[in-house]
């Protein structure tokens, strides 16, 4: 992070890198997290655009709705019909929205110094990286915790060797790792899916539940982040 701060010529990124990330040995109970969710027009960062961003800061003790952020942005490419349906954001709704570059400063500030928590790591990090490359000419990287990966690991861990063998041989259908299904396991309420703000909140709650059930607040950050 220090090297990146020195190396970058973009002040906004320099700020972000200056806040750094917590020491890998920090126990989870002392970490400031931020749950992040992006809704996009597709899965491929180079070809798809960001439609909306939701985030909410939290610790293991509290999720702070007052600090939450939500932005609808205008993607470079037009929306295809499928993602209109999924996100319920229409072309008209987007016409008035700002470009992603306009919200990036606020977004980076909200992420600074915090550990990002997402559900499914292959969206948020590559899309943010791609967006920064496009606007600043250089990307960003950051460590994150993936509740989906965590859930998969916990489910496997809970299984006997015989069950694991059966899993490998494909005798048994894998348990679903979708956000809503994972939440059900912890008796968390059902929310409407595919809204960046709601999904970020849902992810924060899921992570609290996962730690309450399977880990402990004493675990070190480095044991979880990817």
């Amino acid at each position: 992070m220090k090297e990146r701060e020195a190396a970058t010529s973009v002040p906004m990124l320099a700020n972000y890198f200056r806040s750094g990330v917590p020491d890998p040995a920090t126990p989870l109970s002392e970490v400031e997290f931020v749950a992040l969710d992006l809704e996009t027009t597709g899965l491929e960062p180079r070809q798809s655009g960001i439609v909306s961003v939701g985030l909410v800061p939290f610790t293991l003790r509290r999720i702070r709705v007052a600090g939450a952020g939500y932005w609808v942005v205008r993607p470079r490419r037009t929306l295809d019909e499928a993602s209109v349906l999924i996100h319920r954001i229409t072309h008209e709704g987007l016409a008035a929205a700002p470009r992603f570059s306009a919200v990036l400063p606020e977004l980076l500030q909200a992420l600074a110094g915090r550990v990002v928590v997402v559900h499914y790591r292959h969206i948020e990090r590559p899309f943010l990286d791609q967006a920064c490359r496009r606007w600043f000419g250089e990307g960003i990287e950051f460590p994150l915790i993936d509740t989906m990966a965590l859930e998969g690991w916990m489910l496997r861990r809970g299984r006997t060797r015989l069950q694991r063998l059966a899993d490998r041989l494909g005798w048994r259908r894998r348990a679903s790792l979708r956000l809503g299904t994972c939440r059900e396991r912890y008796h968390l309420p059902a929310y409407g899916a595919h809204h960046a703000m709601t999904d970020a909140l849902a992810t924060a709650e899921l992570f609290q539940a996962q730690v309450a059930w399977h880990l402990s607040p004493d675990w070190r950050l480095e044991q979880l982040w990817l």
């Binding site: 509290r62 999720i63 709705v65 703000m197 709601t198 539940a209």
Partner: protein, 623 residues
């Protein structure tokens, strides 16, 4: 932050006290919420902890405990806790633990205080901690009437005037005049003056009617003119019971007893001077009517009397007794009219009231449940024609008076329900010795019985006998306990719906089926187990507590819950009547004020706990 999209706001909006918030405030509160997840079994609030936020249960349920670790309360989705600490500024008094996996919304103290200071309804709602709320509701309805709060002993002004039963009426009249009293008690000759054995009472009207009008000489012993079947009350009884005893037995003077010793006499004027009078006059009026048409002409007064009692805030116990008393008087008068027409009965009989009338818990929506106990000299071929006619006259008359025919045919017109005492005993013996759950479900109504007219001692004998048998029959009690769990209360309310345990919604709630009836069922089991002969649920609870079958606090909870459930039922029926509708028990939650809604939920919780306790207490015996 645009909270519009958030589930938080929509959830808060549906639950009091947030139902009182306008959009701006609701948005503000929703945007300031903090959230945390608690795994089942984990601590949410520990004893003595500083409480900075109002806690709102978004999902799951929690249990609160007393300092001693004793269970205090259970709260579920949409409930709040922590408000007492916030208001008082004192640390938490009740530790709270997650019973299920629970998601809590924390509403910052600053937000809470703003709402508390600015919104009257919000403040009213949060000020009362859960259980006390129910008790306060009861206390509120008790204001404005002294009938229940006053003990008979307090009305006694002087010690009773007594003399030996062999004394003459002249001596009696002189003593009464000297002492300025309207009645004199007769004791057995030669009994201990400190523990006099009462054998009768002579009143002014006895002297007029039985002595002067009969032309008897002044040296007639008072034993010849006194009333013998002495009705007494205990000094500890409530005034209301005294009034009921007078109405029921049509007497004006009641000796007041304390530890088997008479300490005074109260009369009708003493009682009538204290509050609710109207049902008293109504009952007198019923007994004066010459025919069925006359009785029918009193129906508007029945309604008026009911509405007035509800309006004056009489307790459910008082209302239920008064309505039952009115029904009882109708039956008595109808049977007198029947006897005038049919002639005297060939063998002694007793009309039994069953169900709510027997329990003195009648409402304005009731059908007729009755039966006849006949003297064991009864011979069906010879005597039954008379009793069939008597029963038809009674039941048809009652139907004209608005007591609908019983759909289950539990009426004296059913030949099977006109039986001599011996057959009734046999029948009850069968139910008790060989209990069969489905059969028992249909016959539970027979376990609330009371003699209304004729030889009421037949009913008393039966009651006594049932109490003795039932208390010694664990299999029977087990079956009864099992049946008492079949009708469960709903969990509570969502905005406009009744929330069922299954998570489903209903748009209305049958207060009787889901509230008062199962509560009465629960109390009946405990009463029969403790060999109580009482029929009224509140009296049964007294007996159960005295027998030590339930703790005092459990009894207090049941009493409060029943009082509230029945009171709500009466208020709802009064509301129907005022709207010009036929009274029913179907409560639509939309019409409930938040205060009542909350109390009802508490009452349901008490009922639910009581049903669970039954399951443990009376192990169901498989037969």
């Amino acid at each position: 932050m645009e909270v519009e999209q958030l589930d938080i706001r929509e959830h808060l909006r549906r639950h009091p006290p947030f139902t009182f918030l306008d959009e701006d405030r609701l948005n503000q509160v929703s945007g300031s919420v903090e959230i945390a997840y608690f795994r089942a079994g984990s601590d949410i609030v520990v004893l003595g902890q500083e409480v900075a936020d109002l806690h709102y249960i978004r999902q799951g349920s929690v249990e609160m405990f007393r300092r001693s670790g004793e269970f205090y309360n259970r709260l579920g989705e949409g409930d709040i806790f922590g408000q007492i600490s916030l208001i008082s500024g004192r640390p938490a008094r009740f530790p709270v633990r997650a019973l299920e996996d629970t998601l809590i919304y924390f509403i910052p103290g600053s937000q809470f205080r703003a709402l508390y200071n600015e919104l009257e309804e919000f403040a009213d709602f949060v000020e009362v901690e859960d259980r006390t709320r129910l008790r306060q509701a009861g206390a509120r309805s008790r204001e404005g009437t002294e009938m229940l709060a006053t003990r008979v002993g307090r009305l006694v002004q002087r010690s009773p005037v007594m003399m030996n039963a062999s004394g003459t009426v002249l001596e009696a009249a002189r003593a009464m005049t000297e002492q300025g009293v309207a009645s004199i008690l007769a004791c057995a000759d030669g009994c201990d003056p400190d523990h006099p054995q009462l054998v009768g009472i002579v009143t002014d009207s006895d002297l007029r009617g039985r002595l002067i009008a009969a032309g008897l000489p002044y040296d007639t012993p008072i034993s010849a003119v006194m009333s013998e079947a002495l009705i007494t009350v205990e000094a500890d009884d409530y005034l209301f019971s005294a009034m009921m005893a007078m109405l029921r037995h049509n007497v004006h003077h009641l000796p007041v007893m304390q530890r088997l010793r008479p300490i005074g006499v109260i009369d009708l004027a003493d009682v009538a001077g204290h509050g609710t009078r109207n049902s008293l006059y109504l009952v007198r009026n019923i007994h004066d009517q010459p025919d069925l048409d006359g009785l029918k002409s009193l129906l508007p007064d029945v309604r008026g009397s009911f509405l007035r009692m509800v309006g004056e805030g009489a307790t459910a116990n008082m209302i239920g007794s008064a309505v039952a008393m009115i029904g009882r008087s109708f039956k008595q008068r109808l049977l007198e009219l029947a006897e005038e027409r049919l002639g005297p009965p060939p063998v002694p009989y007793c009309l039994l009231a069953l169900g709510s009338m027997a329990r003195d818990e009648q409402s304005m929506l009731t059908d007729q449940d009755n039966a006849l106990i006949l003297d064991d000299a009864f011979d069906r071929s010879q005597h039954d024609a008379y009793f069939r006619s008597l029963a038809e006259f009674l039941c048809d008359g009652l139907a004209e008076l608005g007591y609908t025919y019983c759909k289950g045919d539990i009426m004296a017109t059913n030949a099977d329900l006109r039986q001599p005492l011996a057959v009734w005993k046999e029948r009850f013996a069968g139910w008790i010795a060989r209990p069969d759950r489905p059969a028992l479900l249909n016959s539970s109504i027979f376990f609330d019985l009371d003699g209304v007219h004729g030889e009421t001692r037949l009913a008393d004998t039966l009651k006594q006998w049932i109490a003795e048998q039932a208390s010694r029959a664990p299999a029977f009690l087990g079956c009864l306990a099992h049946n008492a769990q079949t009708r469960t209360p709903p969990l509570g309310f969502f905005r406009d719906f009744v929330l069922e345990k299954s998570g489903r919604y209903q748009d209305s709630l049958d207060l009787k089926r889901r509230g008062t009836a199962p509560m009465v069922d629960v109390i009946r089991v405990h009463a029969l187990a403790s060999a109580s002969v009482a029929q009224n649920s509140f009296r049964r609870l007294d007996d159960v507590a005295a027998a030590g079958f339930l703790t005092n606090s459990m009894v207090a909870d049941l009493r409060d819950a029943l009082e509230f459930l029945a009171g709500t039922q009466y208020r709802h029926q009064a509301f129907n009547l005022e709207q010009g509708l036929a009274p029913d028990n179907k409560l639509n939650p939309v019409t409930l004020e938040a205060f009542d809604r909350r109390n009802l939920k508490d009452a349901f919780r008490v009922l639910s706990n009581a049903q669970r306790f039954l399951r443990m207490r009376y192990r169901v015996v498989q037969v």
